[in-house]
């Protein structure tokens, strides 16, 4: 983490080909100790960036998938209600016995107060991803995936965690991170995030890569693939992206396709192979129907 160039090399060594802008953002996030908000269309490697960073730094990765209705009991902590109730049931007799010799109601009440807090202590606390991340001794990489899918209320709740790396639990108090985690938030832009959240984060938009970068990515992700084939398939995908499709293929689809082609023992693109494996690349029936007649032409296109 000494410099941006070192970071690019480090990420490459764990199999992530980062553009300069990506590496700079990551470098600043680590140095300024700020969360990093990663945006971009599906499959450009947002989540992968967090995984690779964790691998590079040798830190555990704690992942939290956001969805509608996610709330703090799923994200932060929850009381083990079942255990609490079960224990009260089991301890009923015990409590009865220890209260039996109390001279009057007031004394029994005082004794009960003494026991009450037993059931709201750490053993009854079920830590969820956010709290686990704060409790890691040597820090960790915290990935909050698809934050745009969560509710606004949850977004507001995250603010404390993201700016001060601490959470308040009413029954216990404030828990502060031992080592601030490196936080990644990813978003597909289903909805606009609040300004307060954005302000607390560095912003990184990962675009679809250009041909040269994509060739390197495919070569690193699919070891053993021939350079000719990489060139061909990348230029095919790149020309697909210029067309008007419902969902144009992103990096993950290119990589999947490259793997599929290896499985099919293809050493160069031809119409037959492409037609058979097009469903790896395009995810909508209309897209496949629209592209099928143009396959031969798209393959023949000279390398850009």
């Amino acid at each position: 983490m000494a410099s941006v160039d070192a970071l690019i090399q480090g990420l490459e060594s764990v199999g992530y080909i980062a553009s300069r802008r990506i590496a700079t953002s990551l470098f600043m996030a680590v140095n300024l100790q700020k969360p990093i908000l990663v945006e971009g269309s599906a499959g450009v490697g947002k989540t992968e960036l967090a995984l690779s960073t964790a691998a590079l730094l040798g830190l555990p990765l704690i992942r939290m998938q956001c969805y509608e209705g996610l709330d703090e009991s799923k994200a932060l902590y929850e009381w083990k209600y079942g255990k609490q109730l079960l224990y009260t049931q089991i301890l009923k007799d015990r409590m009865g016995a220890s209260l039996a010799d109390a001279p009057d109601m007031d004394a029994a009440m005082v004794r009960l107060h003494g026991m009450g807090d037993l059931f709201f202590s750490e053993p009854f606390l079920e830590p969820r991803p956010l709290m686990k991340a704060l409790q890691e001794d040597d820090g960790c990489v915290l990935l909050i995936d698809e934050i745009d899918k969560s509710d606004e209320a949850f977004e507001a709740f995250l603010l404390e965690v993201l700016s001060a790396y601490q959470v308040s639990i009413p029954e216990i108090g404030v828990l502060k991170a031992k080592t601030p985690p490196i936080v990644f938030l990813t978003s597909n832009n289903v909805r606009d995030l609040g300004d307060a959240l954005k302000r607390r984060c560095l912003h990184l938009h990962i675009p679809l890569p250009d041909a040269a970068l994509e060739r390197r990515i495919v070569a690193s992700r699919v070891p053993g693939i021939e350079a000719d084939l990489v060139g061909q398939l990348v230029s095919f995908v790149q020309s697909l992206r210029t067309l008007d499709l419902r969902k144009s293929p992103s990096i993950s689809e290119t990589v999947d396709w490259a793997r599929a082609l290896i499985l099919l023992n293809a050493d160069s693109l031809d119409t037959e192979v492409v037609r058979d494996s097009l469903n790896v690349l395009l995810k909508f029936e209309q897209d496949i129907v629209a592209i099928e007649p143009q396959i031969a032409e798209l393959i023949r296109k000279p390398l850009a």
């Binding site: 300069r20 908000l37 703090e72 009991s73 799923k74 929850e78 079942g82």
Partner: protein
């Protein structure tokens, strides 16, 4: 550099990249970390701290390039005979001018530097309006010492010596080139600091302009209006259209948990949490496209179109003499063709509210239930035909809320053939709405108040 960074933040703010004080502090920390040596690194690092959306990244890139780019100065080339001092030939009365020397020797970098310094003195970066450009250019040149140059040129022209006169001509040409540079410089500053504010001002005015005012909306502003409407609908939909079905509140439902535990002899094996059900908005929008609201109809339709794109459950109808469902039209076509198509099919006829309500009640009444919010957009001018109040009452009874937005001001309601006051009795909300700003505010109120969440 502090000053330059502050200026840069100001330029960013002017081009609609929001830079809060906290972000400015972050940016300073960033700069302290990465330094200025590597331009790419400097730019990327600043971009990561300051720009917070993909749009903002674009604007950041553009502003950064304009702000930190200094085009090479197009100074007059130095004269051919190398060791001959070109300023020698000029009339030597009074103080020798530094600017004249720079101009005559074609010292581009010195000129550029002098211009930066003069710009600071002339406060060019405070430019606000496009009309300030020529005055600031003049001021910039004066700060650089234009008066002296003009005096020297005038003196050279009076000389008998042809060499002196030629030198004067060259100085004059250099002066003109310099004036061009200065005006380009001021233009760039204007682009940085002021161009966006002008556009914002125009958008503001448009949002407040009455849709049915005399002459309607200027055709020049149409495109801008369309984008405004779209942005508005997107903003509303962002806030209200998301599915909000079930939200866990994360609290134990003690009553139901105890009830369930009965089966296990009081052992609470099944834990029940409190849940909350949240409805999705369901909207029926009915839009008048007759002659009397012709000017407003286009924008009401644009609004319907944008809303239709983002709200899941929305039924749209348009009417003038009769009523038709326009959902299919809005779904299939692009916005311009969709509006034309609607207007072609049904637009600009004589309004008949009674007939239209009949059409609606005959064919589409089943789309109303207690979750539906009905929005009427129209002027309630029914050409003295029977307004069929009974049908509106039916609609009101069946739906969750009935909202009427009238493009006419309240003082016109009930005058002439307007039956607004009679319809008003059946509406939960009836409001005048003839500017985009009002439309947004009302629709937002509607969504907030009448859609449960």
């Amino acid at each position: 550099m502090q000053g330059a960074l502050e200026d840069f933040f100001r330029a960013l703010r002017a081009s609609d990249v929001r830079v809060s004080p906290a972000e400015a502090i972050d940016a300073h920390r960033t700069v302290a970390k990465v330094g200025f040596a590597d331009r790419e690194l400097f730019k990327d690092a600043l971009c990561a701290t300051l720009a917070k959306t993909a749009d903002e990244v674009d604007r950041f890139d553009r502003t950064f390039d304009t702000f930190f780019t200094r085009e090479a100065f197009m100074a007059a080339p130095p004269p051919e005979d190398g060791d001959h001092d070109p300023t020698q030939d000029l009339p030597q009365d009074g103080e020798p001018s530094e600017l004249a020397r720079m101009l005559m020797t074609g010292d581009a970098s010195a000129l550029a530097q002098a211009m930066e310094e003069a710009a600071e003195r002339a406060q060019v970066s405070q430019i606000r309006l496009s009309t300030q450009r020529s005055r600031l250019t003049r001021k910039l040149l004066e700060e650089m010492g234009l008066a002296e140059i003009e005096r020297i040129i005038a003196a050279a022209r009076r000389l008998d010596d042809p060499r002196g006169q030629a030198a004067g001509e060259r100085l004059d040409a250099a002066r003109q080139a310099l004036a061009k540079e200065a005006s380009a410089y001021v233009e760039r500053q204007h682009e940085l600091y002021a161009s966006e504010s002008g556009r914002n001002l125009r958008e503001d005015l448009l949002a407040r302009k009455a849709l049915n005012s005399d002459g309607g909306i200027d055709p020049v502003d149409l495109a801008m209006m369309q984008t405004l409407v779209k942005r508005m609908a997107k903003r509303l939909a962002d806030r209200y259209s998301r599915r909000r079905n079930v939200a866990w509140t994360g609290h134990l439902d003690v009553r139901r948990t105890l009830r369930k535990s009965m089966g296990y002899g009081g052992m609470p094996f099944d834990i029940v949490f409190k849940t909350k059900k949240i409805d999705k908005p369901s909207i029926v929008a009915i839009c008048d496209v007759s002659k009397s609201v012709a000017a407003a109809a286009q924008f009401l339709l644009t609004f319907l179109y944008s809303l239709n794109e983002v709200v899941d459950r929305m039924e749209a109808f348009a009417f003038s003499g009769r009523m038709i469902s326009v959902n299919a039209l809005l779904d299939e076509h692009k916005v311009e063709t969709a509006i034309l198509e609607v207007l072609k099919q049904i637009g600009f006829q004589q309004t008949d509210y009674g007939r239209s309500l009949e059409d609606f009640c005959e064919q589409h009444l089943d789309q109303l239930d207690r979750h539906t919010t009905v929005i009427f957009l129209g002027d309630a001018r029914s050409n003295y035909a029977d307004p069929r109040l009974d049908l509106l009452a039916t609609i009101q009874k069946r739906s969750r809320a009935l909202i009427w937005l009238n493009p006419e001001p309240e003082s016109y309601w009930g005058q002439g053939d307007s039956v607004m006051h009679r319809y008003q009795r059946f509406c939960h909300v009836a409001k005048p709405c003839n500017t985009l700003g009002q439309l947004e505010r009302i629709i937002e109120d509607v969504l907030r108040t009448y859609i449960p969440h």
